[in-house]
């Protein structure tokens, strides 16, 4: 499974799923490279906006975050989700938004995938 994410949301340990090319078509990073800050800096320098990563990295993410991180994500979401869910659908909406913050904005306690 491949997921396209913004370069700003890249984290150490994520794996490149599809080669990243610059505007001239030259490959900057090949498939399967495990990202670290050095690689992320290269992508930003080249003005790359989106990168395909292996989504497997995130698939088990519910288990990869501890209580403290979940609380941090809830705090972040509280600033955006400012109303009280009234039914199960609205609670689901809250949950997927929370999960999304965990997956894209916080560093998991251990890598997966």
């Amino acid at each position: 499974m491949v997921k396209l994410i913004k370069v700003d949301a890249l984290r150490d340990g994520m794996e490149i799923a599809l080669p990243v090319k610059n505007k001239l078509g030259q490959v900057l990073l090949g498939r399967d490279i495990r990202l670290d800050q050095k690689y992320i800096k290269i992508l930003k320098t080249w003005g790359i906006e989106y990168v395909s990563i292996k989504a497997g990295f995130e698939d088990g993410s519910e288990k990869l975050f501890n209580e403290k991180q979940t609380e941090e994500a809830k705090l972040k979401l509280g600033k955006r989700f400012y109303w009280e869910p009234r039914n199960s659908f609205e609670r689901e909406l809250y949950e997927i938004a929370l999960q999304n913050i965990l997956e894209t904005e916080l560093v998991p306690i251990k890598g997966g995938g």
């Binding site: 499974m1 491949v2 997921k3 396209l4 994410i5 906006e49 989106y50 395909s52 989504a55 600033k79 955006r80 989700f81 400012y82 109303w83 009234r86 039914n87 199960s88 659908f89 609205e90 689901e92 909406l93 949950e95 997927i96 938004a97 999960q99 999304n100 894209t104």
Partner: protein, 282 residues
Amino acid sequence: MDVLKLINTGVNNLPTLPTVFSKLSEAIDDPNTNTEKIAKIISSDQSSAFKILKVANSPFFGFRGRIDTVSQAIFHLGFNEVRNIIFALSIINFFSKDKILAKFRPIDFWAHSIGVGIATRLLGSVCGVTDLEPYFLAGIFHDIGKLLFFEFAQHDYLKVLDLAEERKILIKDAEIEVLGIDHADAGKMLAERWKMPQNIQDTIRFHHAGIIDKETNILVASVHLGDILARALSLGFPGDNLIPQVNEKIWDTLKLPEGFIKLIKKDLQNDFGQMLRIMLMD
């Protein structure tokens, strides 16, 4: 000149839509039309033909890698869906992508719009809607009014973005406060000028409420919820990062199965990634 006049003048001076789209619309409206005729028009514009094949082969439309010709794409997607996709691509290319206002970039705007298009179509299909053709397009165009502010009222729109950020309010509320008009009403002006279908005009105008003057409507309700889903999953950026409250009435309109929202999260994210590449990057 006030913003309403600026937008009005700007809309009236906008050129007509690209030739391939106009020719296509004429041909589709012709009762004697056929697939061959339509395919020929699309194929006359290589970029449109290339994108139509990519879109048709995306998992989002359910024909993974089996469509090799424009005629096959028309056969599987239907005349109107093909026209809608070309319409969406024409509009994406029509407006400049270089006018970056503060943190708000046109590419983020389009990414959000595509996210809403995907979510809207998915909602329509789960609700058992048989004519899904306008769903993707309605989602993509729901915020089109913002582009008019980008285009004709940049200076004032910067104030809108600052206000939304500073006070943590929805961009539509900041627009009303600064400009006296929100993107739903501005978008309606453009939709009328370009003679978009009535159902698309309605979704542009009523997507914040989710209903049309107290009347329920599945398409408008789907765009309303699609917008909120795209915000919840941070698919693109609509100008503020808030997740507004859903109009409670739409739950009765859509009658979604329990657990559905959690279930579609991964699909939405995957389809979004693929469509983004096809429509904005490839």
